[in-house]
Every structure is written in structure tokens, then in C-alpha cells.
């Protein structure tokens, strides 16, 4: 059981990191961060269950979710502003336009 959860978490991390590295779309970068956060939430809850400290794990998961949504809201605002200035969401194109 523990090994299965560990493998699933590692899979989510790999998918998230690979997605983060390969994508050039700003919105998709945020989606990749979300995928990574799903893995972290699953880790927190499962470790809480295994160690019998579910209350601490839940409070940490709630803190993580709040930080996640605030980071996303600010990042979304920055993305909208970047799009209004450059008319693009492609990281390379934005870099080329600002050179």
C-alpha cells in the first residue's frame, strides 16, 4: 500500500516537472505547478495517515491549499498583464519581443 502511494506520488512529480520544463505556454506552466501541488497534498495526507498525525497533516494541507490559490491568483494577474502588453503567452515569443 505504502509503496503504491509512493509510486503514484513520484509519478505525479515526474509528470508535473516534465510538463513544467517542456511547456512554453504561461497558463500551462501554472497547470504544471498545480499537478505538482496535487502530489504534495497526497504526500501530506498519506504521511499523516501512516504516522497517525492526521490532524497536523490536515492543517498543513489546508495551509498548502490556501498558499496554492493565492499564488495562482497573483500569477494569473501577471499573465493577463503580460498578454495585454505582448499579445502572446509563449515564453520564447515574449522574451524575443522584450529583447
Amino acid at each position: 500500500m505504502l509503496t503504491v502511494i509512493f509510486l503514484i506520488v513520484v509519478l505525479l512529480y515526474i509528470i508535473g516537472f516534465y510538463y513544467l520544463i517542456t511547456t512554453r505556454n504561461l497558463i500551462r506552466i501554472l497547470i504544471a505547478l498545480e499537478v505538482l501541488t496535487k502530489g504534495i497534498t497526497l504526500t501530506l495526507i498519506y504521511v499523516g495517515k501512516v504516522t497517525g498525525q492526521m490532524a497536523t497533516a490536515q492543517s498543513m494541507a489546508i495551509t498548502l491549499i490556501i498558499i496554492e490559490v493565492v499564488v495562482l491568483a497573483v500569477a494569473a494577474g501577471i499573465i493577463v498583464n503580460i498578454f495585454n502588453h505582448t499579445d502572446s503567452l509563449d515564453v520564447r515569443e515574449i522574451f524575443r519581443k522584450n529583447k
Binding site: 505504502l2 509503496t3 503504491v4 502511494i5 509512493f6 509510486l7 503514484i8 513520484v10 509519478l11 505525479l12 515526474i14 509528470i15 516534465y18 510538463y19 511547456t23 505556454n25 497558463i27 500551462r28 501554472l30 497547470i31 504544471a32 498545480e34 499537478v35 501541488t37 496535487k38 497534498t41 497526497l42 495526507i45 498519506y46 504521511v47 499523516g48 495517515k49 501512516v50 504516522t51 497517525g52 498525525q53 490532524a55 497536523t56 497533516a57 490536515q58 492543517s59 498543513m60 494541507a61 489546508i62 495551509t63 491549499i65 490556501i66 490559490v69 493565492v70 499564488v71 495562482l72 491568483a73 497573483v74 494569473a76 494577474g77 501577471i78 493577463v80 498578454f83 502572446s88 503567452l89
Partner: protein, 164 residues
């Protein structure tokens, strides 16, 4: 029975996370991410974390999807996704993903990391309310500061600029 359901849900979680990476349409990718959040909520319920599960469902599956949808509608660039050959190029980037998964699985198989958490700590019977308000009450202050920082950040980003 319970473990079987959990394994199926874990498989679906990975599948929807993978789907959110592979789907061409960004809006559909966001919906796949919301589905992953809902599946994670059910997993959290099954593991005995109902409060965090409710947060995950309302905030991660609801609010974050709404933020993504509004961002996509505000940055709608229909020409961007329709360039010929762009999707093929995008899909070709994911060719190496299975290879990396196999390599990491091999490393994990060779190293065999210690996963015996039970020996680290003993179980406590604290309630979530007690933990949040008495044990980790500084977290609440931190959360309030983070939310305020986010609100000010968004207000500054969308503030109307003066003409000069």
C-alpha cells in the same frame, strides 16, 4: 474492497494529471485538472481527512478552475493554437516522458528508500480544530498574511494606470 477502490482512484488521478498535460486545448486541460482535484478529494475522504478534502473540493476544484477559466477568456488568442504542425511539435516533447519514468522507477528500485514512517512518531488523538487553533496557531497568522499579500498583489496588477 476499500483498497481496490483506492488503487482505481489513484490510477485515475495519474491519468487525469497526464491528460491535463497532453490535451491540446487549454480549457480542456483545466477541466482535466479539476477532475484530478475531485479524484484527490475522494482519496482524501477515504484516507480519513474530511476537512482538508472539503477545502480541496471547494478551493482547488472550484475556485482555481474559475480563476483558470477567467484567465483563459481574458487571454484568448485563437490564432495561437491553430498554427499548422504546432500540436505535432507539442506532442513530440512528451516522447521522453515514459523513458524518464522508467529511469526514475529503476533508481527507486535500486535504492529502495526507507518508507517506515510508523517508527518515527507515535499516533496522537488531537482533533483538527485543536491542532489548527492551539498547536499550529501561527499558521493562521501566516495564512492571513498570504491572503492579504495576494489581495494587494491582484489589486496592484489590475489598478487603472493614470494617463501620464
Amino acid at each position: 474492497m476499500n483498497n481496490t477502490v483506492l488503487y482505481i482512484l489513484l490510477g485515475l488521478l495519474v491519468f487525469s494529471a497526464l491528460l491535463s498535460a497532453l490535451i491540446k486545448n487549454t480549457m480542456k486541460a483545466v477541466i482535466a485538472l479539476a477532475a484530478a482535484s475531485v479524484i484527490l478529494t475522494v482519496i482524501m475522504f477515504l484516507m480519513g481527512a474530511p476537512l482538508a478534502a472539503v477545502f480541496e473540493l471547494s478551493v482547488a476544484a472550484g475556485l482555481i478552475t474559475a480563476i483558470f477559466a477567467s484567465t483563459i477568456s481574458l487571454t484568448d488568442n485563437p490564432e495561437a493554437d491553430q498554427e499548422p504542425g504546432k500540436n505535432k511539435k507539442r506532442m513530440s516533447r512528451y516522447i521522453y516522458l515514459p523513458i524518464i519514468i522508467v529511469i526514475v522507477a529503476g533508481i527507486i528500485f535500486i535504492m529502495k528508500p526507507g518508507l517506515d514512517f510508523t517508527s518515527v512518531t507515535s499516533a496522537t488523538k488531537d482533533t483538527v480544530q485543536n491542532t489548527i487553533w492551539h498547536v499550529r496557531n501561527l499558521d493562521i497568522a501566516g495564512q492571513i498574511l498570504v491572503i492579504l499579500a495576494g489581495v494587494f498583489g491582484v489589486v496592484i496588477l489590475f489598478k487603472e494606470r493614470s494617463k501620464n
